[in-house]
Every structure is written in C-alpha cells, then in structure tokens.
Symmetry: C2
Subunit: 310 residues, 2 copies
C-alpha cells in the first residue's frame, strides 16, 4: 500500500570528521521517501523554492516517488547547515534558513487520497494536524515524528499534544521522549507518552538501536516492548537523516504488509535500523539512492545474527 509523507525537502550543508559537503539534497521527507521507496510506493507533500533542481527532483522520481504534492514556489528552499564532532550522536546546528517553509500550507493532492498510510515528519504540529485532517477517514495508520522545539515551547506543545491524539505510531529519540513526558526514566516516559494518543511508541537510541513500546491490547498483544539493535559500524561518515531513514524503513515495511500485528512491527524495527545503518555510511542521501532490495535483505540478516541466539 502507498504512503503519504509530509515534511521538508531541502538542502543541507554538512561537516563531520569524515569530510564536508556544502549543499546536498536533504530534508526529513526526502530521507523518509527514499528509505521507504524500497518497500512501497511513496507520495510526498512538501514545498521547495525556485532553486530546487530538476536533478534533485529526479532523484525522488527515479525511486518511483510521487512528487505531485511538492509545491514549487518563489524563493529559496529550506536550508540547514550543521556539523558533527567526534560524538556523532549529536549535530551542532550552525544555520537554519526556513525560506519557503515559512509560509508552507500543505495541501494533499486528491491523487493521494487513496493512500492508507501517512507519515507526519518533523514540522510544526499545526501543519501535521492540518495534513492529518485532510487524510481523516482515509488512512489506516498514521506515523509521526517531532523534536525538542515543539515539545518545550508552551504554545507549540499545546498544538503537539492535540496532534498526537491523531498519531498511531510516534517515532522520537530518548531525549525527546523524556522531555515530552517530563520524566527521566525512558521506560516510564514511554508509558506516559502512550497515554497521549499513540498506540505504539518507537524510541530511537542512536548507536544503540531502538525500542518499541506498545499500549496494552493494541496491535494484538500486551505491553511487552521489543528492542532492535543498531549495527556497530566502524565508519560513520554522516549521521544526518539516520532517524528519518529509520522511520522510512519502518513505515515502508509496515505499509508493504497486509497485517498490522506485533511480528510485522518487530520486523519493521529491524528494517528501520537497516535503513539507518546504510544512510550513515555516506554523506547525505548518497547511500540511500543506490541501494537494492537484495542489499537491504542481506543486512537484515546481519541484524538477525547480531541479536539472535540459535
């Protein structure tokens, strides 16, 4: 089944101990769409400026990503510049230019209305809620992401809590989960977040993988969490987009299945980790652009061997 993603399609400038790029295709919706495209049909809702190149749009199209929902408008595309030190888990943001994103009013094209899956990448919760409403009564499962800024600012937080009521699976990291729940213990924070709306909560632990917590009774099971590893990679070149690639692998795999049960979610957690592990091997979306499903499934087996006892 196809999946609609709303979020940023942008340009990034990235510096890490392994090198630097001045301006490369990026944005949460881009990473998500490319990662998910190996599993299912993806449709993007976003806005770009007149600096957005045909070549970069073609990167998405060549992965059979539907770009009819990408609005082209006057001005410059969203731009982010950041750098990583030796601690690759944390990016230092050097510059954020919202540009055309400032007046983004996302419209889901009618052609997308038959999609049964929706992913709300990290943007203003008001816009997330707006897109969620446009897909009301159409979608079977809604995934979402958010970040510190929307969690801590009192006004944005109010909007976020409203939007969370319409999100089935929230994917955030440890710090965000603790902030959202105002609770220093991750497992306790997870239980609090599950009271805010989501039926499942995926907490990403960076180099240590991710854990999915379920609300009792949802998706055919009890409260038992499931933990997927990340690959111990000797060379991480650029962590940008790892979380969005995880979300793309996770949601893409879920959307490719007919059932929505715990076993599907467990495998989706592994596919999420697999896609994240590919992304960080190269700068930007380079590795995500050139994968094959065979490479993905081979790495899935590596993840199994990393964790499974005979």
């Amino acid at each position: 089944m196809s999946i609609v993603v709303v979020g940023s399609v942008a340009y990034d400038g990235i510096r890490s101990p392994s090198g630097a790029v001045d301006r490369t295709l990026g944005g949460a919706a881009t990473y998500f769409a490319l990662a998910a495209s190996y599993f299912t049909k993806v449709r993007v809702v976003a806005v770009v400026g007149d600096d957005f190149s045909k070549k970069d749009e073609e990167v998405l199209r060549s992965h059979d990503v539907d770009t009819r929902g990408i609005e082209h408008t006057q001005g410059k595309s969203f731009f982010w510049r950041g750098e990583y030190g030796n601690n690759l888990n944390e990016a230092k943001t050097l510059e954020t230019q919202l540009n055309v994103f400032q007046n983004f009013n996302p419209q889901v094209p009618k052609e997308y209305f038959d999609s049964e899956y929706l992913f709300l990448a990290n943007i203003d919760p008001v816009l997330q809620g707006n897109v969620r409403r446009q897909m009301d009564g159409r979608v079977k499962l809604v995934g979402g992401d958010t970040m510190n800024y929307w969690i801590t600012d009192p006004n944005h937080r109010k909007n976020l809590l409203q939007t969370l009521k319409g999100v089935d699976v929230l994917l955030i990291n440890d710090t965000e989960a603790k902030m959202l729940a105002a609770e220093p213990s991750v497992p306790r924070a997870a239980q609090k977040v599950l009271q805010m709306g989501p039926r499942a909560l995926v907490i990403k632990h960076g180099e240590f993988g991710a854990t999915v917590f379920f609300k009792e009774g949802e998706f055919g099971g009890g409260r038992h969490p499931f933990r997927a590893p990340a690959l111990p990679l000797e060379e991480v070149r650029d962590p940008t987009g790892a979380g969005d690639s995880f979300a793309g692998g996770f949601m893409g795999y879920v959307a490719s299945q007919t059932k929505l049960d715990r076993e599907v979610f467990k495998r989706a957690m592994f596919y999420g980790g697999v896609m994240g592990s590919f992304t960080v091997e190269r700068f930007g979306t380079e590795r995500l652009q050139s994968l094959s499903r065979e490479e993905i499934d081979a790495r899935y087996q590596v993840f199994r061997e990393l964790t499974h006892i005979a």
Copy 2:
C-alpha cells in the same frame, strides 16, 4: 566448573532517587560471586577488616561461595559511598576509603588451584597480574574488568597493558573502551582493544545492554559481534553492582558449560544482562541474595522475547 574471583568485598553507602542505605554489603567480588553462584561454584580472593560481620560472610557461604581466600586483617574494610541523580547511568563518588585494601597482597589458596576459570575484578592491574600468574597453567579462561583510573594514569596504564595480555575476555563500558583505545568510535575502539591481548571484548552500554566483539578466528568464529539488550525497567532503584553482576552472570554461565563457542558466549551475554537487571531492582545485593534459577531462566525468556523475531 568452578571460578575464582579476586576483587573487593566491601561496604557501600548508597543514595539514589529511590532511597538510601548507610552501610550495606558490597564490592565487585561480592556482586560477581553472588551472581555467578546461580550457575557454578565460586571461590573468592579478597581482604576484609575486623569490622566485616559474620552475617555478611554467611551471605556468601549460603550461596555455596568458597570464602577461604578472604583474608581477615586488622583495620577497616574497603568502604565506598556514592549517589545517583536522575541519570542513573552515572554514580557520583562521595567517599572512597581503601582501608585494608591499601596493603592487599592477594594469595590464591592451594585449595582453589583446580579452578579452570578466573575473573580479575576491577583492582590495581599489578594485583590482577599477580593473581593471574598464580593461576598460570591452571586456568582455561580468564575474564577481567578495569576502570578509568588505571586506564588514564600513565604508570598504571603500563601495568594494565601488561595484565591485558593475560586476559581472554575483557568486560568494560563504552567510556572505558574509548579511553583505553584513545578512539571515539566504539566499534573501532573494540578492534584496537582486541589487539592488546583479549580474544573477546564485552562492552557494556548501561541501559542499552552490551556488545561482545571477537578477535577473528577465536572461539570458533569470525569477527561478527553480538549484541544483548538490557531490560527497559520502569523502576531502577540502585544501579550499584550492575556491571559486576553482568560479569558474574556472564562468566558463571560460561564456566557452567563444557564448550567455549560463540553460542555459549551469546547465551552468556543474555545471562549477564539478566543478572544485572535483577541487581538494580533493589538496593545493594538484596535482590541477588534471594533469587532462584527458575526466576533467572524466566527472565532469560523475557530477554529473548524482547529481541527475537519469530
């Protein structure tokens, strides 16, 4: 098979957000011995002062731990006082009294000489090396632990590097591995540490579990690592001794098996995590004192469910 452990048998004062104890039985060798005692016969080499109570020695004896190698001497037992804030991963040391440990010259009793396994808990690498030599030609597998202090001080480091040549399996945490290898990437640090002597390296990630890295060809396999989870516990009362309990569960399980292959190590990683998860549920050694093998195996199954895909 039986296992000899050398390390501290001590008293601890602990404060955490869940409560406090002024003085309770502690020390790395104590946690290790109690955890390992559920799998195999354990023999302790340590030193205590005249304040060490018969009741506390009886805690060890009641778990069939051999205490003939515990030297009783004039003075006070090793004492550590620390506290945990909301970040339970890190203890703040408030007080360390080496006391009788200052002049400790560990002697392995002749009665221990038929033990095939040895664990060098975190003490001065010179003492670790000394005990290692006393067991030379007798033991089949040597495990070891160390800490920042021995890694960073240039003189101690020299001794540590010497001792590491005689350690088959080193168990340390992420920070220690990075310091030891002077390398910010954990997987790369692991490869460097494996060049220092150990044939296997277990890196503990606190609430995120642990990863074992192998030297190519050792223990019947290649370089593939294996990652075991930690249980997402909603209530962690006192993290003291979690690492030593992990080591006890790990080494105790290994010593209970006839083979020394990868599958044994994988299961040992799970049993290590299981024993650590019990320890942190109560203060000090309380939970470790009252376990049953049935409870341990039931939790091992929970660890499997947490990680395994059908």
